[in-house]
C-alpha cells in the first residue's frame, strides 16, 4: 500500500485553504459514490503508463472523460467515452449549475483530475474552489492544493502504484 497522504510540501501556497489528502482507497470510494462523476484528463496522460490507468479508471467505474489539452489524440482509439474540451473553459462551465455537461444531461458533482502540470490545474480548479460546491479529487503525482482532495507528492513509481490501488478499489 502506498501512503499518499504524507508529503504535502509546497513551494508557494495559495493561502488558507488547501486540499485534504486521500488514500487511493478513500479516493476510490468517493469516486464510486459520486452520482455524476467526470474524469478530467490533461496532456501528461500521453505518457503510456498514465494513459493505461486513465482508460482503466474510466472503464472500471464507467466514468466519462473530459479530454483536455491534446490528450484526446491518445484516447481516440481506446473505446472510452471521451470528449475534447478546453480545460479553462471546462473549469468555468463546471461552476455553472446550468451547464448541460458533455452529454447534455447536466453538470457534474465530482471531478477527478489527472495528467496536468501542477500550476495549470491549480489555476483552473481555483474557479471551482471559490465559486462552486463542486467536489474535485486530484490523483496526480504532485499535491494539488486547490482541489477538494488530493494525493500528496509522490515519486513516479509510487504514483503508478497508487493509481493501481485506486483502480483495484473501484
Amino acid at each position: 500500500m502506498v501512503d499518499t497522504t504524507k508529503n504535502t510540501k509546497l513551494f508557494t501556497s495559495y493561502g488558507v485553504s488547501t486540499s485534504k489528502t486521500v488514500t487511493p482507497e478513500m479516493a476510490a470510494k468517493l469516486i464510486s459514490k459520486a452520482k455524476r462523476p467526470l474524469l478530467m484528463v490533461g496532456t501528461l496522460t500521453l505518457d503510456p503508463e498514465l494513459l493505461d490507468r486513465v482508460v482503466k479508471i474510466s472503464k472500471t467505474a464507467n466514468i466519462p472523460i473530459a479530454a483536455t489539452g491534446s490528450s484526446k489524440v491518445s484516447l481516440a482509439d481506446k473505446d472510452v467515452d471521451a470528449k475534447y474540451i478546453n480545460a479553462h473553459m471546462l473549469g468555468f462551465y463546471l461552476t455553472d449549475p446550468n451547464w448541460p455537461g458533455l452529454d447534455g444531461n447536466g453538470n457534474y458533482d465530482t471531478v477527478i483530475v489527472l495528467g496536468f502540470k501542477k500550476f495549470y490545474i491549480n489555476q483552473v480548479l481555483s474557479a471551482a474552489k471559490n465559486f462552486s460546491n463542486l467536489k474535485t479529487i486530484a490523483i496526480e503525482r504532485g499535491y494539488i492544493q486547490n482541489s477538494t482532495m488530493s494525493f500528496g507528492n509522490l515519486s513516479k513509481a509510487d504514483h503508478y502504484a497508487a493509481l493501481d490501488e485506486l483502480i483495484d478499489n473501484l
Partner: protein
C-alpha cells in the same frame, strides 16, 4: 478672464517686454479636444473617460464573454484592515468580495502594462522632440491612415512629432484616473474592473502606437517594408573572438547613440552589438529604412538573459527598461561584466555617473571599483559603452571568465545531487531536474540537455538546492553544442501594415476567403519550449493564413530551420498577404496589429475612426477573422496588449502559464440567447454561430492552441466560400492535432455551400443521420435543419443604435 494659450504676447504699457509661452500643461490637449469636437463625422467617444465605453460597448462584450476568475490566492493583503481570507467568495473587512478583488488584481496588471508602454512613449517623444524638433514629419510609409489607435481615441491624426503631444497627455491623464480606482474602498464590482481594464487596454494601444511611430519616423526604421532585411538571431551567431556589447530591455533610445559611435569610429566589424528582448528588435531596425546591410544582432528573448550572462560572453551589459531581470548586477559582477543602467526606470542602486567625466568612469568600471553605473546622458552613454566594451574584452579574455563548469567540475557537481526533489518543487516549469541528474550520473546527458529549451533561466532551482549545485550552469554545460547551433534569421520589424495592403486584403478577410490573421506575440514563458511558436506559425503559414508577429514571439519563430536549412522568414514573404509572415516589430509595434484590423474597417468599409471605438470594434468582432496568440505571456504588458485586442473584438489564446493572470473571458457556447446579433439593415435579431467562443483563454499545449485559433477566426460575416475554407482548416487541424473531427462543426453550417468541398457528401450524410437535417439528395441541398440562415448582404452588429429601423 481669457485663458492663456501658447504663443507670444506683449503686455500693454510694457511695450518692450514680450513673453513667450511654449507649453502649458494640458493646453495642447485642451485645444485638441476643442478641435476634435468640431469633427462633423466623429463617433460618440472622443477623448473617452472611465465610463465612456462601459454601457454602449464593454458591457455588451462582457455579457457574452463572461469574466472567468481564477484566484491566485485566498487572501487579500492590500490594506491594513487585512489580511483577509476571501476564499469561497467571502468579503473582506472593507466589503470587497473575492471576485471584485481579483478583478482589481487583473486590472492592476493591465494598467501597469499600459503605464509601461505610455511611459516608454513619453520618454521617446520628449527625447526625440528635443533632438529633432516638433516639426519632424511622421513619415511612416505610403499610407494615409497612420495612427488609427490615436484617431479612434482622440479624433486626431497627427502628422508631426509635436502633434502627438495631445494624445500622449490624454493617455497619461486617463491612466491617473484609472490608477486611482484601485485604492481600497474605491471600485469593488468585478464587472466594472473588467470594463476599466478594457478601457485601459484601448489606451495601451494608443501608448504603444505613439512609441512606435515616433521611433519609426525619427530613427529611420523600415517603413511598412515587406522586404526589411533579415537579421541574424541566436546565441550561436555571436563571434566570440570579438568584444561583445549586450543590450537588454525595450527602449532603443540610448542604443542608437552606441551604434552611432560605432559607425563614426568604424567599429561595426570589430565588435559585436546584440540584444535581448525588444531592444534587440528595435536596434536591428535602426536606420534600416533603406535596407542597409545590418550588423547588429538579436540574441533572443527574455528567458536568455541569465543564460547569456552565465556564458560569460558579454564584455559589457547595458540595460534600459521593461522585462529586465532584477539580478543582472550581482550575476554580471561575478563574471566581471560591468553593467550600465541607461534609463531612470531601472537604476539598480548603482552610482550615478551621468555628470562625471567619461574617462574617469571608464577607469572605475574597468578596475572593478564599481560594478556598474547609471548613465543617463546619451552622448556619454554611446562613447562609454563602446570604449568600455573594447577595453574590457582583452582583460576578460585573458582571464577566460565564464560560469560554465569544466568537464571535471561538471562531473563532481552532478555527483553531489542527493535526489531530494527540492528543485523539482521549485521549478516554475516543473522540470524533472532530479531525474535528469540521475541519468547524468550514469553518463546519459540527454535528459539534462532536453531541459535547456524549456528552462526559462530563472534560477529558482539553484536557490533551494541544499547541495549548492549551480543547476542552470549544469544545464547550460550540456547544452553547449545546442547553443552553438542557435543561429537563425528574423526579418527586421517592418512597421505598420500599409493602406494598400489593407485595400488588397480587406475583402478576402471580411468574406473569409483569407482564412484569418494569426498574431503571434509576446514573451517566452512557454510551457514546453521555444519551438512551439515555430510549429504554430508554420502550420498557419502553410495554410495561407496571414501570420503577423512581434516581440519575443517574432524572434523565437526565426530560431528554427527546415530540412533545407531555411527559416520561416526565408520561406514566406514579409507582406500582409495570404501566407505572409509579417514581423511588425517590437512589443510596442503591437499597436499596428490592432491598427491593421481597425484599418480594415476604416479603409475597406469606410467606417469613421474618430471617437468611434464601439463601432470599429463591433465591425472587427463580427467581420475580421483574427486571433492573437500570446503563447508565453508573462508580463503585465502582455495583459494590457491582450486586453486592448479584446476590447476591439480580437480574441487571444494564451499559454497555460497565463492562467495565472487570474481572469479569462469565455462565452457559454450552450446559451443560445448569447449568440444573436442585429442585422443593421432593419434591426432584426439574427442568430450567429458560437464563434469566437472566447476573447481570452488558455490552451494547454500548442497542439491544442492550433485548432482553437483556426476556429476563433470564424465570423458571422463569412460568405459561403469563406466559411467553407475556414471550416476546412479548422476541421482538418482538429483532426490532425486532437485525433478526430470536432463535434460541433455542424453549428457553423448555414447551407450546403458552407460545407468543405472535399467532404461535402460525407458531411451531408452526417447531417442527415446524426442531426436529423433534411437533405435533398438529388440536388445535394439542405432542405431544413440549420438554425442560422445565410444572407450575403446581412450586416451583423451588436449595437442596436447602428441599425436603420432601430
Amino acid at each position: 478672464m481669457s485663458k492663456l494659450t501658447t504663443g507670444s504676447f506683449s503686455i500693454e504699457d510694457l511695450e518692450s517686454v514680450q513673453i513667450t509661452i511654449n507649453n502649458i500643461v494640458g493646453a495642447a490637449k485642451e485645444a485638441a479636444e476643442e478641435k476634435a469636437k468640431e469633427l462633423v463625422k466623429a463617433g460618440p467617444t472622443l477623448f473617452p473617460g472611465l465610463e465612456s465605453y462601459r454601457d454602449d460597448w464593454n458591457f455588451k462584450l462582457l455579457d457574452r464573454y463572461e469574466p472567468v476568475i481564477t484566484p491566485m490566492c485566498d487572501q487579500c493583503c492590500y490594506c491594513t484592515y487585512g489580511p483577509c481570507d476571501l476564499s469561497g467568495n467571502k468579503r473582506g473587512a472593507c466589503g470587497i468580495d473575492m471576485l471584485g478583488h481579483n478583478g482589481r488584481e487583473f486590472f492592476l496588471r493591465v494598467i501597469t502594462g499600459t503605464a509601461c508602454h505610455a511611459a516608454h512613449g513619453r520618454h521617446l517623444l520628449d527625447h526625440l522632440i528635443e533632438t529633432f524638433g516638433e516639426d519632424l514629419p511622421l513619415n511612416l510609409g505610403q499610407s494615409n491612415v497612420l495612427t488609427p489607435n490615436i484617431t479612434i481615441s482622440t479624433g486626431l491624426s497627427p502628422k508631426t512629432l509635436g502633434e502627438i503631444k495631445p494624445a500622449m497627455e490624454f493617455v497619461e491623464e486617463q491612466l491617473t484616473q484609472l490608477l486611482a480606482t484601485v485604492h481600497a474602498g474605491q471600485e469593488s464590482a468585478e464587472i466594472d474592473y473588467d470594463s476599466k481594464a478594457l478601457f485601459s487596454g484601448s489606451l495601451d494601444h494608443v501608448g504603444m502606437e505613439i512609441s512606435d511611430v515616433v521611433q519609426v519616423a525619427a530613427y529611420d526604421f523600415p517603413k511598412a517594408d515587406p522586404d526589411a532585411p533579415l537579421i541574424e538571431i541566436g546565441m550561436g551567431t555571436i563571434d566570440k573572438s570579438k568584444p561583445f556589447l549586450c543590450v537588454i530591455g525595450h527602449n532603443v533610445g540610448g542604443v542608437t547613440y552606441m551604434m552611432d559611435y560605432m559607425e563614426e569610429h568604424e567599429l561595426t566589424d570589430k565588435m559585436e552589438i546584440a540584444g535581448l528582448c525588444c531592444t534587440a528588435i528595435d536596434l536591428t531596425r535602426y536606420k534600416e529604412a533603406d535596407e542597409r546591410p545590418p550588423y547588429a544582432k538579436v540574441i533572443g528573448s527574455m528567458s536568455k538573459e541569465l543564460k547569456v550572462i552565465r556564458s560569460g560572453m558579454p564584455d559589457v551589459v547595458v540595460v534600459d527598461e521593461q522585462c529586465v531581470r532584477g539580478d543582472i548586477v550581482p550575476e554580471a559582477q561575478k563574471l566581471k561584466i560591468p553593467v550600465i543602467a541607461s534609463n531612470a526606470k531601472i537604476m539598480y542602486g548603482l552610482p550615478n555617473r551621468t555628470d562625471a567625466d567619461v574617462n574617469e568612469t571608464l577607469e572605475e568600471l574597468k578596475s572593478g571599483k564599481i560594478p556598474g553605473c547609471v548613465m543617463l546622458d546619451y552622448d556619454k552613454l554611446g562613447e562609454l559603452c563602446i570604449r568600455l566594451t573594447m577595453e574590457m574584452a582583452p582583460i576578460r579574455d585573458a582571464e577566460g571568465i565564464t560560469a560554465i563548469p569544466t568537464d571535471e567540475e561538471f562531473t563532481n557537481l552532478v555527483a553531489k545531487c542527493a535526489d531530494c526533489g527540492a528543485c523539482l518543487l521549485a521549478c516554475p516549469e516543473e522540470l524533472d531536474i532530479p531525474e535528469a541528474m540521475g541519468f547524468a550520473k550514469e553518463g546519459d546527458f540527454s535528459y539534462l540537455e532536453e531541459l535547456h529549451d524549456t528552462c526559462i533561466g530563472c534560477r529558482r532551482c539553484e536557490q533551494v538546492c541544499k547541495k549548492e549545485i549551480p543547476i542552470l550552469n549544469i544545464i547550460e554545460k550540456v547544452a553547449q553544442k545546442q547553443i552553438a547551433e542557435e543561429k537563425g534569421l528574423m526579418r527586421a520589424g517592418r512597421g505598420q501594415v500599409s493602406d494598400a495592403e489593407i485595400r488588397a486584403e480587406g475583402l478576402n478577410l471580411v468574406m473569409g476567403t483569407t482564412p484569418g490573421i494569426i498574431a503571434i506575440i509576446g514573451c517566452p514563458n512557454y510551457a514546453e519550449g521555444t519551438k512551439d511558436v515555430y510549429y504554430i506559425a508554420e502550420e498557419f503559414l502553410k495554410r495561407n493564413f496571414i501570420v503577423v508577429t512581434t516581440g519575443c514571439g517574432a524572434m523565437d519563430i526565426g530560431m528554427f530551420k527546415d530540412e533545407d536549412g531555411k527559416t520561416l522568414y526565408e520561406r514566406y514573404p514579409g507582406g500582409f498577404q495570404c501566407g505572409g509572415l509579417v514581423n511588425i516589430g517590437s512589443c510596442v509595434s503591437n499597436a499596428h496589429i490592432t491598427g491593421a484590423a481597425e484599418k480594415v474597417a476604416a479603409i475597406f468599409a469606410q467606417r469613421t475612426l474618430e471617437g468611434n471605438l464601439a463601432e470599429i470594434s463591433d465591425y472587427i468582432l463580427n467581420r475580421v477573422g483574427a486571433c492573437g496568440l500570446a503563447w508565453g505571456a508573462f508580463s503585465q504588458k502582455a495583459s494590457s496588449i491582450g486586453t486592448g485586442c479584446n476590447i476591439l473584438g480580437i480574441p487571444a489564446v494564451l499559454g497555460p502559464h497565463s492562467s495565472k493572470y487570474r481572469r479569462a473571458l469565455i462565452a457559454k457556447t450552450y446559451e443560445e440567447d448569447k449568440w444573436k446579433v442585429y442585422d443593421a439593415r432593419n434591426g432584426q435579431e439574427m442568430p450567429i454561430p458560437p464563434a469566437p467562443e472566447f476573447l481570452l483563454t488558455t490552451a494547454e499545449t500548442w497542439q491544442e492552441a492550433i485548432p482553437m485559433m483556426a476556429k476563433a477566426c470564424i465570423r458571422p460575416s463569412d460568405n459561403n466560400m469563406g466559411r467553407a475554407i475556414k471550416l476546412t482548416h479548422w476541421m482538418e487541424l482538429h483532426k490532425k492535432y486532437l485525433g478526430e473531427e470536432p463535434e460541433d462543426w455542424w453549428k457553423f453550417v448555414r447551407n450546403e455551400a458552407d460545407l468543405p468541398l472535399a467532404k461535402r457528401e460525407d458531411l451531408l450524410k452526417k447531417l442527415e443521420a446524426v442531426h436529423g437535417w433534411e437533405i435533398d439528395w438529388k440536388r445535394k441541398k439542405i432542405i431544413s435543419g440549420p438554425k442560422i440562415k445565410f444572407d450575403v448582404s446581412a450586416q451583423p452588429t451588436n449595437l442596436k443604435r447602428l441599425c436603420k429601423e432601430a
